[in-house]
Amino acid sequence: MAKIIIDPVNRMEGHLGIEADITPAESNGFRLNPNAQCRGNMYRGFEQLLKKRDPRDAMVITQRH
């Protein structure tokens, strides 16, 4: 078995990484296994930092999400 890691994925916002297992196939070079995974690599905790704020502030702060 072999693995492909692509981290970061370019031209999109948000720190995406891909990790996929590949196995050789007879006809097509390789095929992907079902356990290909993608991962979000960044966390800021918007839910926590919205607590105890004026509800109207949410529309200013979550713009930055």
């Binding site: 072999a2 693995k3 297992d21 690599n41 966390y43 800021r44 607590k51 004026d54």
Partner: protein
């Protein structure tokens, strides 16, 4: 049969608008095809020394800083010496696009010209053409040589060894590099692969780099560090009250906590005006960025009275606001909006405008005069207050905690 009549120049602009600015340097449209992501070693045909190399890494961001920069359109009438020179195409170390392809030349300098003629963006995941190991190995290969400008946006989380933000997975053991700073070691994870990975046999060392580790690694050899946006300048939203990730600004993390003494320029704003960033980078290239004299007490470029930040500490942008005559204005947003009787609208102070913050929090950005979202006819540009949005004080270290609640009268006096 239809044929789309589009000049190469228009095609270039379209590419830029779709965030492909750096990708173009790989095509044969321009003579920079090998400048970026050329492979595991720096390309010798790269015009080193003529273009300033910029490495742009991203922490806890929202993409706004990248978007605002791609929106840059120079104003040839700009009174600022540096921005005026950029907008008039005076800063052109290599071939000028408009000379190469005069058919579509429009006389305006936009971000395409900036990234192709003035700076060379070596690594920026949001715009680069390559992804994964191709670009990461290239990045690792150019760090040793140094001499680049490190640009960061987004805050730097340091809790749990920085694992709230991981920016890349690089082949090889980065900690073995000569320029590797020891303080960054706890913030990366060097592991050995157990399977063939990306075509390399098992047993290869790979490094998972967090934003905290990557910032130190790349800052160590950088000629200067530009902290783009309020998050990387002062912490911003990710560092607001209640956050759990330990978000730090670039200055706090690199100079204060890890004692690196790097040259750091803050370009705050959420998001910053692209002019502010272009001015900073162009000043650095032209050698006019005299840090002792041109940075204010918050690390921001201060420049002249017509440029980015006003030198006078008593200035607040409130003084230039067209709504100022009606201060303090009505108590509801609806009553303050533009009308026949008030073509500029009325003052938003009582509904939360932070345009006038008390010293030393003076809001000294030049939004009322510079404005945002440039059109080729610059008189159409707008800004937050011009659109009935009370100023949130987004260029200030106090954003968002000091300047919120945003829709209530701020903690200051008129």
């Amino acid at each position: 049969m239809f044929s789309i009549k589009i000049t190469r120049r228009q095609f270039l602009k379209w590419l830029t608008a779709s965030a492909a600015a750096v990708g173009m340097s790989q095509t044969d449209l321009l003579k920079l095809q090998n400048a970026f992501a050329a492979g595991p070693t720096p390309d010798p045909t790269m015009p080193a020394g003529t273009l300033a190399r910029v490495i742009w890494i991203t922490g806890q961001d929202c993409g706004g800083c990248a978007t605002t920069l791609l929106n840059y359109l120079g104003n040839p009438a700009d009174e600022d010496a540096v921005l005026g020179a950029v907008a008039q195409g005076a800063v052109t170390p290599i071939d000028d696009i408009e000379t190469l392809y005069p058919l579509g030349g429009d006389g305006h300098v936009d971000i395409a010209e900036v990234v192709l003629e003035i700076v060379s963006i070596e690594w920026a995941y949001i715009v680069m053409a390559g992804s994964g190991d191709v670009s990461n190995a290239y990045l690792a290969s150019i760090v040793e040589a140094g001499g680049y400008v490190l640009m960061m946006d987004g805050a730097i989380p340091i809790n749990n060894h920085g694992k709230y933000c991981k920016i890349m997975d690089v082949p090889g053991d980065l900690t073995a590099q000569a320029s590797w700073p020891a303080v960054a070691t706890p913030y990366v994870n060097v592991y050995t692969t157990t399977d063939t990975t990306n075509g390399v046999a098992a047993g290869q060392k790979r490094t998972e780099v967090t934003m905290a580790g990557g910032a130190l690694w790349l800052a160590n050899n950088a000629a200067a560090v530009v902290c783009m946006g309020t998050c990387n300048s002062y912490g911003g939203v990710p560092a607001a009250k209640g956050a759990v990730t330990g978000a730090k600004s670039g200055w706090e993390w690199i100079n204060q906590i890890n004692g690196m003494h790097k040259t750091i320029v803050n370009v705050p704003g959420c998001a910053p005006n692209p002019d502010w960033f272009i001015h900073t980078v162009a000043s650095f290239i032209l050698g006019t960025l005299n840090l002792d004299q041109t940075l204010d007490h918050k690390g921001r470029p201060k420049l002249t009275s017509t440029a980015i930040y006003h030198v006078d500490q008593t200035y607040s942008f409130c003084l230039d606001c067209p709504r100022r005559p009606s201060m303090p204005g009505p108590t509801t947003l609806l009553a303050a909006q533009k009308s026949a009787a008030h073509p500029n609208g009325q003052c938003l102070f009582q509904v939360g405008c932070n345009g006038k913050l008390n010293a030393p929090q003076n809001n000294r950005a030049d939004c009322p005069t510079r404005k945002w979202n440039p059109f080729e006819d610059h008189s159409k540009n707008n800004w937050c207050v011009g659109n009935n949005m009370p100023c949130q004080g987004c260029t200030d270290p106090g954003f968002p905690d000091y300047t919120s609640p945003f829709y209530k009268q701020p903690k200051t006096s008129v």
